[in-house]
Amino acid sequence: MEPHSLLWYYLWIAPHLLQIPLAIVIFKRKLHRDFPWFLTYTIYQILGNAVLLLLNHSPQISGKSYHVALDVDAILSIILRFAVIYEIFHVSLKPYESLQRVSSALGNTVLISLLLGALGVAVYGPVPQYTTGLISMSVATYRAGSMVQCGLLLFLFLFSYYFRISWRSFVFGIASGLAFYLSVQLAMSALLALSYIKSADAIDMAAYHCSVLIWLGYALARQRVPVAMKTVPNHQLESWNLELQRLLER
């Protein structure tokens, strides 16, 4: 086991401890009905990191075995994040029938382009020369995963912005927390492929900590309910109608 600072331990353990109340809030507020994959991801992060922490402190586990475990965790996390992103797309576009065909056609095109881009980066991109093959693989895996996922979230943000889609509080919280973490992870993994950055781990963990705080904040926040119109305000609509008719007749 390598010696680490107190801050390093805090940044590793605290977000995963905070994910315990997050999972409880999700369950208590019945948010898991709409976000089963996000709850699965949250629980996986709690358990997975508990196991990694134990492995990190176990004298029987060699450095190589520990890095294999880290790579497996990275791959499982990436797979679960894809499921969470799919869930974000599904929940945020569900109320808009006319957008579903366009979003799925555009989304598939974006996904294929991003996968090709990630493949191109994997083949032609820089490979860290300062470390072992296993850590290089971790860097490349994180870089490819965060590139595709960041791109998908970027697409969703731009798509929603153009169509002025109303985000429900929690789905926006999940998307923004994930986008923040993935964009930091993408930048760090891209820079790490060039040269060693001493504080890279801490920055990555700090970003994850921020994301967990965002998720927890949005899970605790009151869900925004659209302002229901019991009656459509007459004076407004009439003036709108007049305005539109005048415009049409002009």
């Binding site: 808009y96 943000f157 986008a179 964009s183 820079l191 009439e238 002009r250």
Partner: protein
Amino acid sequence: MIITVILVGFALLAMGALIMAARGRSGTVTDVAELEGKLRPVDLLAFRNLVAAEEEEFLRSNLPAKVFRVVQKERIGAAVEYVQCVAQNASLLLRLGEAARASADPEIANAGRELVESALRIRIYALSAAMKLRARRVLPGLSVSPSAVSSSYENLTGLVSRLGRLQHRSEQLAAAS
């Protein structure tokens, strides 16, 4: 090195989009009164005239080629502005539709749902129409049909009228009870 710069730029872009989405979200209209007076004027007939093939042909045959190119560029620029106005109005009507579809009255809720769907369709058409018009600026031979945008917009205004009629009826019912 270039790939690293591109990836860091991509990450910054995602962060920027996140901030933009958060700001857009905080600007969400929660009171229908906020929408009043925000509609931008749209003259559909003028728009149709701007993109009409016959009008273009008439100008082409009556103006010197150089003058025609300048005039046509200006006409297409104006048409793009009209499309953007329609799209902007559609986004405002979308908010009204969203508020209406949360109504307890099933008819108002239904009209709200239709309004939302129409407003979204307009934004889809507006996106493609604006792209086609811009392409036409570069490739003058390209033909563009404005009917999709203009008919959808007329349909949208019809839906707003329907919401108005429903309101009248719900008020009459409230007064009678």
